[in-house]
Symmetry: D2
Subunit: 300 residues, 4 copies
Amino acid sequence: MKLSGVMPPMATPFQDGKLAPEKLKENFKRWNKTDLSGYLVLGSNGEAVYLNDKEKTKTVEISRESIPASKIMLVGTGMESTEETIRFTNQVAKMGADCALVVTPSYFKGSMKPQILYDHFVAVAESSRIGILIYNVPQFTGINLEPEWVARLSEHSNIIGVKDSSGNIGQLSEVIRLSRKGFAVFVGSAPVFFPALCVGAVGGILAVANVVPQECVRIQNLFEEKKFDEARGLQGQLTPLAGAVTTKYGIGGLKMAMDLAGYFGGNPRPPLKRPDKNTEEELKRLLLTFSSFSSGSSRR
Amino acid sequence: MKLSGVMPPMATPFQDGKLAPEKLKENFKRWNKTDLSGYLVLGSNGEAVYLNDKEKTKTVEISRESIPASKIMLVGTGMESTEETIRFTNQVAKMGADCALVVTPSYFKGSMKPQILYDHFVAVAESSRIGILIYNVPQFTGINLEPEWVARLSEHSNIIGVKDSSGNIGQLSEVIRLSRKGFAVFVGSAPVFFPALCVGAVGGILAVANVVPQECVRIQNLFEEKKFDEARGLQGQLTPLAGAVTTKYGIGGLKMAMDLAGYFGGNPRPPLKRPDKNTEEELKRLLLTFSSFSSGSSRR
Amino acid sequence: MKLSGVMPPMATPFQDGKLAPEKLKENFKRWNKTDLSGYLVLGSNGEAVYLNDKEKTKTVEISRESIPASKIMLVGTGMESTEETIRFTNQVAKMGADCALVVTPSYFKGSMKPQILYDHFVAVAESSRIGILIYNVPQFTGINLEPEWVARLSEHSNIIGVKDSSGNIGQLSEVIRLSRKGFAVFVGSAPVFFPALCVGAVGGILAVANVVPQECVRIQNLFEEKKFDEARGLQGQLTPLAGAVTTKYGIGGLKMAMDLAGYFGGNPRPPLKRPDKNTEEELKRLLLTFSSFSSGSSRR
Amino acid sequence: MKLSGVMPPMATPFQDGKLAPEKLKENFKRWNKTDLSGYLVLGSNGEAVYLNDKEKTKTVEISRESIPASKIMLVGTGMESTEETIRFTNQVAKMGADCALVVTPSYFKGSMKPQILYDHFVAVAESSRIGILIYNVPQFTGINLEPEWVARLSEHSNIIGVKDSSGNIGQLSEVIRLSRKGFAVFVGSAPVFFPALCVGAVGGILAVANVVPQECVRIQNLFEEKKFDEARGLQGQLTPLAGAVTTKYGIGGLKMAMDLAGYFGGNPRPPLKRPDKNTEEELKRLLLTFSSFSSGSSRR
């Protein structure tokens, strides 16, 4: 299995506020028909921070059953505490995850100096039975791990990649330039997916890939076929939708767009909310720019 | 019981990485001899983010046994999810907490608009069996709740106060000016404790009060006796120590200073670390500016 | 002459886009009847960045004629270049200024390390024929000079004070605590004027003092008479107006409020604009909370 | 003349603190032998903020004499005041500038709302005898002009392009996508020159092009020949030097590197300083990665 390509940070479906395993299975059934290379389970967009331990376990279980062996199963396991991160990483390893995504701890921002973060990632990597990827997401954590530190961590044989969601292409370029050859650098921000590929990213872990997976894959395919103008054009279509389902309307918007695209989205957990009717109209319009949604009925 | 005065956000002691109930009891025994008005259990400085559910329950249990009825028992119960916050608040209520401190949820910063936060706090307040205080701590959460929104929330009969740790005295003044009379405004930043009292704060929830509780109380006493120059002078002595045990050396520094002051501090949980020998020397020097530590042996 | 008390950063009047010397003289006539301790000429609120060399010279000239010897004449002379700052400081010295306010250079933010700023201020102080005050205004410059560096600069015999407009009372306290005795620390943010006095500021250089000079002076008088509750109450009245004429509506709002208060305000220079009618109504309402404007007609 | 390609924001040479016209002419002589498409005179890196009116005029004069008609002469003319910006733009137009670069005014950050900036640029464009480019440089100004506003401005026939120095490739993509066809979008940040070309930028205005002009041009040539891997490789060589002569060592570093590369760099004006010997060694090493400096002596 090659660590590359497009993966959605899988949204976690709820019905009446409860985890909805059947809905998740249905979503997987449709996603599996696309060329997504894998899935991130329990990512930020999976509302991992709103799930209790039991719900997390259940979500991993269903995902393991639903994800074919040919696709990557990456699971978000980062906690504030080093020990808890190790414990949970090994739990999901035992449950069959291929690799784990470990976010920078961040609550005590002032104390999270680079060396502290470095030691944390090394400690987790040393004790983890599966390979880990670093998750750098300053817009959520208020912490940025600089390229030279990611590069140092890339030398550890059990640290196999990074998801950089900063949206900073200069930084991504430096991560790629400075890291060891073969280190898997994913971009986590859809509006810069195409430029990220240009500077050498191996793929994208993109919220919007929950909604329009094949369109995201197509950008990468076009790029690899050196059809740059087409790739750039498709990126231009993707950007407004990507902005809407993350920055602008958050997970509520993402789930609403999933509903419009024929997946089960449903409501996010409070304090998050489902957006209003106006947003629904805007999301419909944004989806219609894609051919798969513009001819007569949408794919539903 | 009057909601006012000085409370420490109680540090949680560990031995060999495990929760150390006996050490916590010993600390309480000494703190109880001072004029602290109460305690914040499971606050940021209590490393709540590093405790699992069982450890949290145990910590609340020991605290309830150790805190006399004459002192306030405030417990940090804020989670990212509204539902989980309510569940945990009512759990600690049943265990005997007097009131709960609820931090602004913050993981999805971009989505945490004022109205979302407002609805969250109201939902928690509606369902909580004990009064709640809002916890505004932008340096950890990346979220700031503006005075006009705190004021609106102060109108709810079950929202009884706020801990503002922004360090922004202009903001604190506005919170006090705009909130309903009787709403308990605590400052959460020791370097501005004296000016906070000047603008009308009812007290302080101060990390450094784990180390020098009586000195903190004394600032408020001097202020209330209108001995402003003395209060300001003592604040000047407190500020460098307060900066060291929070901003500069974090919880590792706080716990080291507790050890030096005769309490049990011990090590924080990784990724946090105990500072080195140089820091110890610096902390010793800072403690010596206080008379209780400068005469011969320290209080130990 | 004692360096203390309330000074307005004097607004510069324009008519048909041209400097209006007569209007400035009229304003001075009224201000001089109050207990303002002096004036800041060519400050930020004086739109110094919109004046050419000739206009600056003319403004200083008129100010010198209009300001009585009993009041302080402080002139803003800071430029990006060290040499130009020295040249202009000595020019206004020759024209009769009592002292000069020198802003931190800031265009090349990344290069403005503390030592660079230190050397700049020392160079200016060495060559200046009049005493200089440091001007720290992060919200305009993006640069903050830390208390320990202000304190080091306070040791220079020709650096006689600082105007700190950060609004950060913790920082102001530290500046006062660490600087040499006699160093004049002014606060430059009206919403924290009262707490600034509490922590030891000698006075305020306040935009809103262009509009309600005597009310600002009164806060300081009440404070000095130890009438803290009254001082705090008056501060509570001042804060909304102060916020409106700076943060909220900028210099356009300040000048509109001056017009409403019976001074000549007029229009700011483009790109700044005069606010609309709604703002005028809001400003009127805010002025009416002051007794001097609430009886009979508002325009005295 | 096509508005595209690589231009250096020309450094302004001083000797003994005075403008050094002969040195500037010598620099031009060498730069003119390269394939630079033009020059930015009086840009940020030209230390425009340290030049008085006379020096600015002299610099424009010499530049006009030295720049061949086949190359673009772009002059920085943005001031805080709208009127002064218009006046100076028309002055340089009369002196022969091809077009003008107008920075967002920024001193009163809080007042510089998008509409205010929009009106400023339109007013300047209306009155200017030459085409203007918008200069967006948040790291110096603290102001960011959002893509939708740049796009609106691109509809004005006399606003012909933008230099975006934010380093934000997502933003640059959106500017290109939303602006009118033919609007010249330059990137102003060398570490993202290659990705900027990938998303459709027409060229770069790059500080490091003062030092290694032909290498910068070569990145664009390789890109246009679709030799992406080579272009990306050369970018990887350029990035560390580019970081050193801007972010890390500022204009002092830039001028030192120019000296090492055989141009006249000299000292920046105080408060800026020439870096120390260690920096010189580092800059030498960084230059040696380029073939033109690695054979024989480094000073060509």
